[in-house]
Symmetry: C2
Subunit: 350 residues, 2 copies
């Protein structure tokens, strides 16, 4: 009765191809792009079912869910790219609740004309980051917008994870007397991105600290248990913003010691050159932990055994303060308020 359709088995040209609007439509080009770029890279049974949603079994318990958009510019930077960052960043947001991350969903918004080779590189970087973190990218979505209405690629990842029984981490649990532990040096990510953006050629290349923190978190949860009150990864807005947010939420203040905060000499130098304060510069592989004082020494020791916690330090404590200020004793022995960031210090850093 019917004549067969013209079979346009157009494969994706991963060397010279560009994303066009047809890749965002519900047609054959979109199906090819999804299969050859994403499903091949992320390969797992849930994705391969090719339904519009993933299905998986879950045990009863406390789940966390977190979503983050990634609009970083440039897309590729020393120490990572938007793909690895989109995996690490959302894993970390899930892990900050003390949870074990399980699955990720990923949404791409791609600008027409974006090189397919770059998209493939990003997808493979995401796949590698997910594999290393033992987390599965179970479902995804791709949209394409016209040239000039996006900027290369934006990625939104959403993660879910399960919190071990009895663990309740929340900024609101920060209490006067608690110690503040920082897992390592601050400013690495932001400075690495800014130096690439400003085309600064430093002698020793600065690398982003982008990394998945859930392994370190698992050790911390095991060591400190209920004495671990809150965690936060100081991403955009840096350490200063993360502390201010916790202070505001918990209705407390902080007193921190500038000398105790690890900053790499190269980061200090680059910050002076770029006119930045490292306390406000984004990190993508660091965490702040608020812990009961009697447990902080044991927690610190446990953290230092992990590669991502080897420079961990106690940087201060929680104090009573109705005004929720973050105060800092400076290296010169004076004091200053580490205020909220006003304005945008570093746009599109994550």
């Amino acid at each position: 009765m019917m004549s067969p359709p013209r079979l346009r088995t157009r494969r994706i040209d991963t060397r010279h191809g560009l994303v066009d609007l047809s890749h965002g439509a519900g047609g054959r080009a979109a199906a090819h792009l999804i299969q050859e770029i994403f499903i091949d890279a992320f390969s797992n049974p849930a994705l391969s079912r090719a339904d519009d949603q993933a299905a998986f079994d879950i045990s009863a318990g406390r789940m966390v869910m977190s979503t983050d958009g990634y609009v970083i510019s440039p897309l590729f930077f020393p120490g990572g790219d938007i793909g690895s960052l989109a995996v690490h960043g959302t894993i970390n947001d899930v892990a900050m609740a003390g949870a074990i991350p399980l699955h990720l969903a990923v949404g791409f918004i791609i600008e027409e004309g974006f090189p397919i080779a770059d998209l493939q590189r990003i997808a493979q970087s995401m796949a590698r980051a997910a594999r290393e973190a033992d987390i599965t990218i179970v479902t995804g979505d791709t949209k394409v917008v016209e040239r000039g209405h996006g900027d290369g690629v934006f990625i939104t990842t959403t993660g879910i994870g399960m919190v071990p029984h009895g663990i309740v981490l929340s900024a609101s649990r920060a209490a006067p007397g608690d110690h503040v532990i920082l897992s390592g040096s601050v400013g690495d990510h932001g400075v690495a991105v800014m130096s690439r953006r400003a085309n600064l050629g430093f002698e020793t290349e600065l690398l982003s600290d982008s990394a998945a923190l859930h392994g370190l978190v698992a050790i911390m949860v095991r060591t400190a248990g209920a004495a671990l009150h809150a965690m936060r990864d100081p991403t955009r807005g840096g350490l200063a913003s993360a502390l201010n947010e916790i202070a505001q939420t918990a209705g407390i203040g902080f007193l921190i010691d500038e000398q105790a905060i690890p900053v790499r000499p190269e980061v200090t130098a680059a910050c002076e050159l770029l006119g930045l304060d490292p306390l406000y510069v984004a990190n993508e592989g660091k965490l702040i932990a608020i812990v009961a004082p009697e447990t902080s020494a044991a927690l610190l020791s446990a953290m230092r055994v992990h590669p991502l916690g080897c420079d961990a330090a106690i940087i201060g404590e929680v104090i009573e303060d109705d005004q929720c200020f973050v105060q800092m004793t400076t290296s010169f022995g004076g004091g200053r308020i580490v205020d909220w960031l006003s304005g945008e210090q570093l746009p599109r850093i994550c």
Copy 2:
């Protein structure tokens, strides 16, 4: 020891304000925007904790997760806006697995200069859609990109839900002999958006069918149980693309009857004017169900009682076909292959 910081208690100007890059940084402006526009609208305990992730209790069982980016243009269209669409669309993707949707995460990517009043209108529309669907927006994220690097606002929503015990819906379960039920008329959403975009003034305004389908789905699951094999919401690419995707996944073909497919006369007329085929036009409140033939009559009756299923119809059946074609008997008695969409028929329709 310290002088108090200047307290810039800048409130958001919801009448004349514009989003600027500071609203995407981790500072005070971002905190104000998130509190006054999003948390106030979406108000619920999980969001108000102001952590970077939501936590909630989950029972053991089969969970589904789905993510979708919304880049529709224009942002406001007859029958909805990007906010309500971003809630309905992701609820529907979760529901298509037979699941009861529970929670949504939402990520905004906003272009610098976007009116805050529009953002508030979108947030309130999302809140209303979520409330009506009895689903909670538990966590979110906001990014701002420079003027000319985005397009107003893009939204990515991610939903999770739980599948009732014993229900396994998947395109791969479509089997020869199964009946195909369509829940109502096709083409309404795409034509409503295109008519607004083309500034066509039809006498009777066409409205998008944007709606949350999980209530209808719950009835269908209860009625058909394991006889319900697969569901799909025919969004971008329309009915034609959804059927082709199922055919490809299941390794089967379809034989459908053009006369059985409900299309509103206004949609037919607009499609002729715009040069569109309603079978390829996006829907946002319709579903296709693949069901064992002995259960289709009962399922159809049950669907017709629900407001979103009152025009439901059996439109064809699954057939054996190694080539996975979607064949259609036309109104004139002839036949045609309903092929995959090639190229982008309607860019940014969702």
